[in-house]
Amino acid sequence: MGNDAVEIAINTIKLVVCFLLIVQAVPVLVWLERRGSAFIQNRFGPNRIGPLGLMQLLADAVKFLHKEEFAPAKAVKFLYYAAPVVALVPATLAFAAIPLGAPVHWDQYVFPLQGYEVSVGIVFVLAVSSLAAYAILLAGWGSGNKYALLGALRASAQVISYELALGLAIVGIIMTYGTFNFGEMIHAQEGPLHFSFMGHELVLGFLPNWGIFYQPLGALIFFAASFAESNRLPFDLAEGEAELVAGFHVEYGGFKMLLFFIGEYGHMIVASALMATFFFGGYGLGFMTLAELSASVATVVQDPNIVSLVTSLITFAVFSVKLAVFLWIFIHVRWTLPRFRYDQLMDLGWKTMLPWALFNTILTATLIYVGHL
Amino acid sequence: MPNVDTSLAAEALARPETQTQIESLDLIAHSATLGVGLSHYLILSAILFVLGMIGVLMRRNAIVMLMSIELMLNAVNISFVAFSRFQNLIDGQIMVFFVMTIAAAEAAVGLAILVAIFKRFREVNIRFFEHLRG
């Protein structure tokens, strides 16, 4: 946590803030979703409460807090109340491990812009994301409702099936960059694009050295599998709102349902953050390395502490923009594509994504072996 | 509290070959004040193993018996990793890979068998299957 009181204090505050960043980002996301979906469907979204409807979710939260809080008669009370909390934890744990900006160098301290720095970053994020299946199962069983249970079993089978494709799509990136650590991966994506194959170098100055140019198939599989992991359309049969009412969280109302939504949006945010980190350079600007950015900030500001702080803020803004782009793609896809049937969904996960992800792994391994021969 | 036995360490330090092998002296000091050594992890592993064994012997629900077997395998994993750490050999962690894979596969097959039994008999309590028939 740190060697002296200042460092411990700042690290503690940073841990709490990063942990709660997802909860803070959800209102903005819900507003984006409701207005965005409205414009896609050629209507206005919420536009009464606050300018442009920005206070809508605040009003929703107040409404939810005032709803009657009850548990169904046949529910297993402990599991019924535990499930929304368990839904919140994996997404927040995973998000706190992802670097959001360049580290701040202040005097003799170095503060990375993440909740905690994990040396096996990817494995940790995959591991805590895989605990998301429990929230679904606890909700389905704790509701005491046969249909909620069926929805929960289907949803958890879907989640654990797509974890495989997700993990295998990442293996290509791990092989390309040779590390599990997020910070090193982002560092390796700096500068202009340069391939080196069998001694020949190819430098394309107008493109950044991002992972998407090294692993296009991996990026596609990862992005598609992350839709299934967060139960978003087109993979949300388990909670299809028009057909199954609400699947595994049908018996939840009020604030508990809000917690499930925060969990779902949390998984969306984690998936977007991972997409940005692996394939789009993370917090780095495409056309400038971090050192060049620091140097150009240093021409404006004198104090090296403030230079480091401003650099971190700029990289944080860049990361937020990338995050927003991917979240907008998530929202856009939700209101554009129709839903998969359950057997089509499972076939896609096992019979299409898994073989293609394996093929991607073998291809990447062959190219790396041949290229560095 | 574990008694700190520094006599062996002092002896090892005095030998010339150990002097050249030891790259950081403060690790010796650190492990002397670590408070938790190999024996702690092994005792934890033994306790978990015996708890799993009690589960297999005492419980009558076949699924809970399978879960107790998983508990025993996890206990063994802890002892492998503890040895790997304290003897500084990587082979312990490789064994854990193998044990983990085989345990997961065995759990899958065991559950498939239990599902087939449940489809046929509607019971998984082993007291219905105590007598050989035929």
Binding site: V120 | T6, I47, I78, R85, F97, V115
Partner: protein, 177 residues
């Protein structure tokens, strides 16, 4: 008490408490959830031992897949009528627990008698740095243990085929007796 030892005692307490819950509680679903908690505890113990990758794999494989499978199967079975959760017979039950306790005593005695004094002497400093640790692990896996690795792959293939074959039996959960 240093941070390391506090962490060890805390995690050991949680793991053993969850394991006791697995074995003693009557409702099998709570048993399975306690097993998930035990797996998470074991994963945390791996982290204190410096095996970070194994901790992640333990969470992904055991807590995230195997225990979920157990919970799903239990939820499908819906065993409300848990008659005689524990084995009948006071005498045989006592003998079983006594034997297990005797085994525990033997094991702990053997451990304390053999190991104490060993762990204070390290011949080279253990470096649980994950980059080197991972490299060493994968190197050993693909050179020294490659045969076992390949056999494990074939074993998994056989298991997958076998499980699908077993699950195709006719019947369903509402089969007639």
């Amino acid at each position: 008490m240093s941070m390391d030892s506090f962490l060890f005692w805390f995690l050991a307490f949680i793991t053993i408490a969850s394991a006791v819950t697995v074995v003693t509680i009557t409702n099998p679903i709570y048993s399975a959830l306690a097993l998930a908690m035990t797996m998470v505890g074991v994963s945390a113990i791996f982290v204190t031992l410096g095996a970070y990758f194994l901790a992640g794999v333990q969470l992904i494989v055991y807590a995230g897949a195997v225990t979920v499978l157990f919970v799903m199967v239990l939820m499908l079975f819906d065993l409300k009528h848990e008659l005689s959760a524990f084995s009948r017979g006071q005498i045989s039950g006592t003998i079983k627990v006594a034997t297990a306790a005797a085994l525990a005593g033997l094991l702990i005695g053997a451990i304390v008698w053999t190991v104490s004094g060993f762990e204070r002497v390290v011949s080279k400093p253990a470096a649980p740095d994950s980059a080197d640790g991972m490299r060493e692990l994968s190197h050993a896996l693909f050179t020294k243990y490659v045969f076992g690795f390949e056999v494990l792959g074939i074993l998994l293939l056989i298991i997958a085929v076998g499980v699908v074959a077993l699950a195709r039996a006719k019947g369903g959960t509402h089969a007639q007796r």
